[in-house]
Symmetry: C2
Subunit: 164 residues, 2 copies
Amino acid sequence: MPLRSDWSSTTCPIARSADVLADPWVLVILRELFSGRTRFDQLRDATGAADSVLARRLRTMTEAGLLTRDEDPRSGYRLTDAGSETLPILHAYARFSKVTEPDDDYGLSVSCGRCGEAAASVDWCAHCSAPLDVDSTRWTRRSMGGTPFDLASVGAGTGAGARA
Amino acid sequence: MPLRSDWSSTTCPIARSADVLADPWVLVILRELFSGRTRFDQLRDATGAADSVLARRLRTMTEAGLLTRDEDPRSGYRLTDAGSETLPILHAYARFSKVTEPDDDYGLSVSCGRCGEAAASVDWCAHCSAPLDVDSTRWTRRSMGGTPFDLASVGAGTGAGARA
């Protein structure tokens, strides 16, 4: 991780979360897990991370309780409940890009899984008041064909189906 | 910055924002700017960053358009409008800590600047529907005496007063 010191026991909740999560590779690995990619090779190909970079991040994320490794090694990694709670952090980063560079053409869009409206907030649907959590959020990614998908349905280990 | 590659032109809005902002030091520097600390020595003392670490981050943040340096060198740095848009990212990190470790005693709390209710969302007051932006958000920090303060009023260069 990029940290020069261990902030996991600081009392500031920003610094505390940042200890593991304020890392670009961790964020794009989470993005791929939410998108249904769970195996090492899938994560490597989708993120472009070197094997060593990816392995180190997956180990840190597992130690931090964000991921578990499936008993079946072919299944790879899945997000824990705590890992699923990182979704608003990803949405906040995505939203910053869109707010500050609104004319750009972005490859990932967030919408409400319940009503389908484009997300105007990081964690809450302003249209139908559903929380934009892993069970009620839809992403559209151009690199994945541009068809909207429910995060809960992708088998990323984040939704009800994968938790069962 | 901790990045191994330049992601500023990627089409993924998460990776694009992460290029500069997914860095623990950048996040705590932003935290202090939102809290009204603007001078190099104030930022250094409040974050615990080494001079070289802090100088490098301030340079990168300025180049990225998040900060400007005041003409009066005694005033230090102030957030640009784009820099102020990072607030939901900080709130998302803070919220992650509180959601995943709810029993801990945290040194920073977020509430609505309009109605005073504790924030239940990253960027929106569920109680009075005000946006939790820099003009309508209140923080309470134990390390700063525990008295709630409006971000817009601290003279951090983020609020109406400082922009004027």
